[in-house]
């Protein structure tokens, strides 16, 4: 609890900083809206079509593969924490890693081989 108190204060101060920045610009900045300024910026040319482009699923693929590998990478963290101290008790954790990393490498190899992300 004691360790969280400075964190809480930091959260509050950061929030105040954000509000402060917003308020100061609102107060100090002039307000002279002109129509051109408030329209969508496309290099000065008149905006063309809707702003939401048809989607490319490769962005989705990057995000979803990130999600899956993030989960797998997150599992490494607790493993790494106990690995050093477990060495005295035998290689159980080492083999657990080999199996785990092997499976993860197969997954990675698969996406690279299938060229899912259209890398090349």
């Amino acid at each position: 609890m004691e360790t969280l108190l400075p964190l809480a204060i930091l959260l509050i101060v950061s929030l105040l900083l954000c509000v402060g920045i917003l308020a100061v610009t609102q107060i100090l900045g002039p307000k002279r809206p002109v129509p051109m300024q408030l329209s969508t910026y496309e290099c000065g040319v008149k905006p063309e079509g809707g702003s939401h482009v048809p989607f490319k699923s490769s962005f989705y693929l990057v995000a979803v593969l990130f999600l899956l590998f993030d989960v797998e990478a997150a599992f490494f963290l607790p493993w790494a924490l106990v690995y050093k101290n477990s060495l005295a008790e035998g290689p159980a954790l080492f083999w657990a890693l080999i199996v785990y990393l092997g499976l993860m490498a197969i997954g990675l190899f698969y996406i690279l081989r299938k060229n899912i992300l259209r890398l090349n």
Binding site: M1, S57, Y60, V64, L67, L68, D70, V71, F75
Partner: protein, 107 residues
């Protein structure tokens, strides 16, 4: 704050938070027709379960609950990955994510 005091705050009030979170997830699951929000409601329900597991784990001083939470989070990630993949495919066919428009499986 000393430990027992901290744990005392894991009381009736936390049960209420847990079930309220679950109920909110359930309501969202039932009333919304946007597939994305339905999926999000599912996440809320899973999180209510996580909350309960952590609570029990802290109460009993064992780690089993935490390990289960790790598993639940993995399953949730998997569910979202597949769920959103399916939603994207459905959107490609129907140009909408309204669940009522996906009726091709019903008679």
């Amino acid at each position: 704050m000393i430990l027992s005091e901290k744990l005392a705050s894991i009381g009736y009030w936390t049960h209420f938070v847990t079930v309220a979170l679950f109920a909110l997830g359930l309501i969202g699951f039932l009333i919304r027709r946007n597939a994305l929000i339905v999926l999000m409601s599912l996440e809320l329900m899973l999180n209510a379960v996580n909350l309960l597991l952590v609570q029990i784990s802290m109460r009993t001083g064992t780690s089993e609950g935490m390990v289960l939470v790790v598993f639940v989070i993995t399953i949730a990630a998997a569910e979202v990955a597949v769920g959103l993949g399916i939603i994207l495919n459905l959107y490609r066919m129907k140009k909408t994510v309204d669940l009522d428009s996906f009726r091709s499986l019903s008679g």
